[in-house]
Symmetry: C2
Subunit: 320 residues, 2 copies
């Protein structure tokens, strides 16, 4: 059956009933900034808020996908319904990396309890920083209890997106310094759990001391969450249970202290503000183009109208 002719309500209903194709279709539409996806998002919103998001970030090659895969296995053994979003803001260039990751995740390809999806920038309004929370809410609304959001790098956008999860895991390796130099401060700020993956290599102890030192410089109050540091070897599964326990410990902490609710509210306010700003930006771009714009510019040049009155005229009906 083609899903192209389904209404937003039918698409959403199908996705809620476990139709993975319908879910994939909505996410594709969302990635493109399509109006149908927006409509589905509208319906999904009131059903969301139950899933828990875990952000996983770190330099390429740090072993994020192997760890994610190990986490999936663990969650599935607990019979949790999972979704994985792999976010790639620089997609045309790192398509290979994403593909590699997805191959590594093939283990879970036939498991209906796991839904894996990569998302790239498609240049529409607000880009990934606006489409990611929308995608998360959709996955949440169709019943995924854990949503793992993996970002491929440590650039500003990646760190921002991973930092908006309920619990954020930063994956480092022994001798991590160089690979994340550019955004060390950003990573330190968002991490709830540090993973030192490939901990069987030399330098793991130094890396732990490095992190501890940087944490000491951070002004944490005694009742704040103090980030945990977990050594792992993703390829053997060593430390994965400890990582899982660390994530759960953080979750319990923020749920008990009402931090989770406050954080989520803060993120929603920020998102709303960003949507308003991006919409007005789009409007400005629309206004400053086309025949009407050319005409008014010519009138300004011909001194028939001054620039401020011209702006008034362009903005007429925009209330600005």
């Amino acid at each position: 059956m083609s899903r192209r002719n389904l209404s937003p309500a039918e698409l959403f209903e199908a996705a809620r009933n476990g139709d993975r194709g319908a879910l994939a279709r909505v996410l594709s539409l969302l990635e493109r900034g399509d109006a149908t996806a927006r409509e589905v998002g509208r319906m999904a919103y009131k059903h969301s808020g139950h899933g828990y998001t875990v952000g996983i970030t770190g330099a390429p090659g740090a072993g994020k996908s192997t760890l994610t895969s190990a986490l999936i296995k663990h969650l599935r053994s607990l019979e949790m319904e999972i979704a994985v979003l792999a976010i790639d803001p620089s997609s045309p260039f790192t398509g290979g990396a994403i593909l590699g990751d997805r191959v590594r995740m093939q283990d879970h390809a036939t498991d209906p309890g796991v839904f894996i999806r990569s998302m790239a920038t498609r240049g529409h309004l607000g880009g990934l920083s606006l489409s990611t929370p929308e995608a998360i809410r959709l996955l949440d609304a169709v019943g995924r209890e854990w949503i793992l959001v993996e970002t491929v790098g440590v650039g500003q956008v990646e760190v921002e997106i991973a930092g908006k999860a309920d619990t954020t895991v930063v994956v480092l390796n022994p001798g991590w310094g160089d690979s994340v130099q550019a955004n060390k401060a950003g990573l330190m700020e968002i991490a709830d759990v540090f993973v030192i993956n490939k901990a069987d290599r030399k330098g793991a102890d130094e890396t732990r001391r490095d992190i501890e030192q940087m944490l000491e410089l951070t002004d944490l109050a005694t009742d704040d969450w103090h980030p945990l540091i977990i050594p792992t070897v993703g390829t053997t599964g060593e430390g994965v249970t400890e990582l899982w326990n660390a994530i759960c410990e953080h979750r319990s902490f923020i749920e008990a202290n009402n931090v989770l609710q406050t954080r989520r509210e803060f993120r929603l306010r920020e998102e709303l503000r960003e949507i308003v700003a991006r919409r007005l930006e789009l409007r400005a771009r629309e206004l400053c183009t086309g025949e009407r714009w050319e005409n008014i510019q010519q009138q300004v040049i011909d001194r028939q109208i001054d620039p401020w009155s011209a702006a008034d005229e362009m903005l007429h009906g925009v209330g600005a």
Copy 2:
């Protein structure tokens, strides 16, 4: 007579008839972003376009004011009506510098053919980058034939403003490197005439070679204007006639090649675009505040409405 009760039309008429107090009043209102000034600007616009602007920029202490003062003397000997705008984007901190400059310009204080005025940021919409062209148009519309725009430093805003003049003069000193390091590329880009002031000091020849070398690296076509380099000693007046000739040579060049018209049109288009963008920005700031904003945020948090629909509602009537 108090000018506070004059209508915009009366203020503009008084300024056109040579009432310096009325002109000063409009510029003060403009600096504050007052609606009366906007109204006067609207009337002034069709009377503008006849004056010629010369931007003068360079590091503090390079001798800009002394040179400006020498140029004023020269222009007055030709019976030109002049205005000088001293632009200071960082005003609260360099008020002293501006004051010093104005004291040096006291020579011209009693000459009705010279109107000197400093302008600082007052934090209103668009700041100096939008109020400076408006002020220039006003001075132009009341009959000033030459408008000298002096900026106090070589920061990005200063360089941008000076670069928007018809002819831009960059004032350097022997051993100039350090004082302008941060924005050397910006200065090279805007200069139509380089002045090496204090050319009696050692290092003047090296400075000339430096500039020539940097110009060689610039990809100038044979029919482009090739910036002139003029050595001066502002305190003795040495080289000021040559500077004046260089400015006139550049003016003739761009008038003959229709470059002046093209540049002015380009600047107007840019200004219009900036006004539209700033107005929408202001609108976004207005929208994302107040009781209505708080209410809609709460509705989003309570999941009564999704963020995109909430943005729709906030933007209702704004056409965005």
